[in-house]
Symmetry: C2
Subunit: 349 residues, 2 copies
């Protein structure tokens, strides 16, 4: 991630464009090529990165002029957000374009231009105050200091709401201050998150709990990585026992090709604790047969570069021979506390 | 809603069942009939209620024995939750049944039996600690006191997280203590909720903000009604301008037929402020043509008893002639602050 302040990056881009116009040239910007042939997996970083190939967006080219104008407007809008200390959802940005008679066919198109801005600046959209709507939650013995306007420097204790705190702009940008936690334990479902709070499992395991809720938004991954680095805490991922749950863990670990242009999101040392296919067998969990979609997903993952490690190939082979899947909630068959009393201690030993 | 303590209601039911068995009779329970012919709209209460018709669930009848056993087990499970001060998601309850070799074909079946328990006891499932997974959020100048174990009597200020607080079990059961707010303003989307927080619209309008996020979970409706009653605050609903958004507002006002057996959820005086079809026209909002599904939904609503009032029929007629719909975010075409500076003051005047 670029170390420059987001607003300075935007100013620089604006300056380059206005200089070209003043000098009577058509402005041009260089963007990294996001085509699949320019995405590679960097084994050392343990994440996808973009290669050297660039594409030019040239305002003198009739085919480029529309997306050039859109990109310039998105950069302008981002600058307005930063100047006024505001945020915008992706959807709001799409609608805001109408006021400027900048046309997008649909939100898909404005989302893609926002990705272009990320590529151009080397900064994630959140650095410009642009967020998706989803939220996940966090709970644990951590103190952080807010940095958002109106709350600057105010301390927030992540145990203060027994329902958890949503990971929005304020928490994502807060600074870690202190903790007595020994690990970060991220779980897929809201039900499991609530169970671990009310059984005081967070105290027992000295864990900061994170609710992922499916593929977690980047704000959640950013917060997890920030806590992981600030306090040097190991990260454990507990998801449903199916290809989709396993891949939630993988994306937290190694990132996704879609975000190859963004660094600072992955947690290479994060560990998937389960539900593994071996768990389904060993704990005799209630399970369901995999659908053809599940099996097809396993085939894709088997060929995915992020799954080349021995342990991942073993999980895939076991899922394939088992042909069954189980949810986190399946442990409830042994009573509501089994997962806290037995499964998690086994796994976190 | 029954005024009896939930645990006492369960004990009474258990006692009736065990007495029957001790005396050598097959236990029988009476449930209100939830068939459509026994659901009526009570104009005075402004909500659906169940009529007098009852159905017997008789354990001596082979056709009833399965659902009788399921209902007894769900009541047992609810009692265990109350005794141990725990909660369960609907999904967890479904999986927990396996430990007792109680069979449900799927979660749909266990959800229906939970509704039976609500009918039998006159208490909502939340009174027994049984919750769905969805969450919506709240933010505003209100102090409440938690009642959940470990947090009893601890005060929570609903402005303390600038991302809002999730409305889970803890907030839903907290007691309102004080406020200087003058209204409750509930909005459909997370983007609008964030916008109203960061522009300090909550201060300007002295509003408690609630994010509904589509049809709001009951916990959210319960909290809104509690704040409405405790502080005598008017409730305003701001949703997307389409049949679905209008109906979100209607359900907050008048409830749904599905929950005819539950009282204490509706807010008859709540007002839908928009986006109305007239707003789409008057503010020249970016809009989309209605789909055939939207138009069919309007036909259904036109015949719905909750829409008999003149104002609702007018909205429906206007939607039908306009044949277009608009989202809350559509106001962004006039700049990100238009909704706060102009639209809401117009509407809340």
């Amino acid at each position: 991630m670029s170390e420059q302040k987001p607003v300075d990056t935007l100013k620089e881009i604006g300056l380059r464009i206005t200089e070209a116009i003043t000098e009577g040239r058509f402005p041009v910007v260089d963007l990294p090529n996001r085509g699949t042939d320019n995405i590679e997996f960097d084994a050392e970083l343990n994440q996808f990165v973009l290669g050297e190939s660039k594409v030019k967006r040239d305002s003198s080219n009739l085919k480029h002029i529309r997306s050039f104008a859109q990109l310039t407007w998105v950069a302008y809008f981002a600058k307005q957000l930063l100047d006024s200390n505001r945020t915008s959802s992706l959807r709001d940005l799409y609608y805001s374009s109408e006021a400027f008679e900048v046309r997008f066919n649909d939100q898909g198109e404005s989302d893609r231009i926002i990705t272009d801005l990320e590529c151009l600046t080397g900064q994630p959209r959140e650095a410009f105050g642009i967020y998706p709507e989803e939220h996940s939650s966090v709970f644990g013995s951590v103190k952080m200091n807010y940095t958002v306007p109106g709350y600057e420097g105010r301390e927030v204790d992540l145990t203060l709401s027994p329902d958890g705190l949503p990971i929005g702009r304020a928490l994502m940008t807060a600074e870690p201050a202190e903790t007595d936690a020994k690990m970060i334990l991220a779980v897929e479902s809201g039900g499991m998150f609530s169970r671990l709070i009310e059984t005081k499992a967070w105290k027992r395991f000295r864990a900061i709990l994170v609710q992922l809720g499916g593929q977690p938004p980047r704000s959640t991954r950013t917060l997890m990585r920030k806590l992981h680095e600030a306090f040097d805490l190991p990260v454990f991922l507990f998801t449903d026992g199916d290809p989709w749950g396993m891949h939630i863990a993988q994306v937290v670990k190694s990132g996704s090709a879609n975000a190859a242009h963004i660094s600072g999101l992955t947690i290479p040392n994060a560990k998937w604790i389960g539900v593994t296919p071996a768990d389904i067998r060993e704990y005799s969990l209630p399970s369901e047969p995999m659908s053809s979609v599940d099996l097809k997903r396993l085939d894709e993952l088997a060929r995915d570069i992020r799954y080349t490690g021995h342990i991942w190939q073993k999980h895939i082979a076991e899922f394939r021979s088992l042909r069954r899947k189980a949810e986190q909630q399946a442990f409830s068959r042994y009573g509501t506390d089994f997962v806290v009393e037995t499964y998690l201690p086994d796994k976190l030993e």
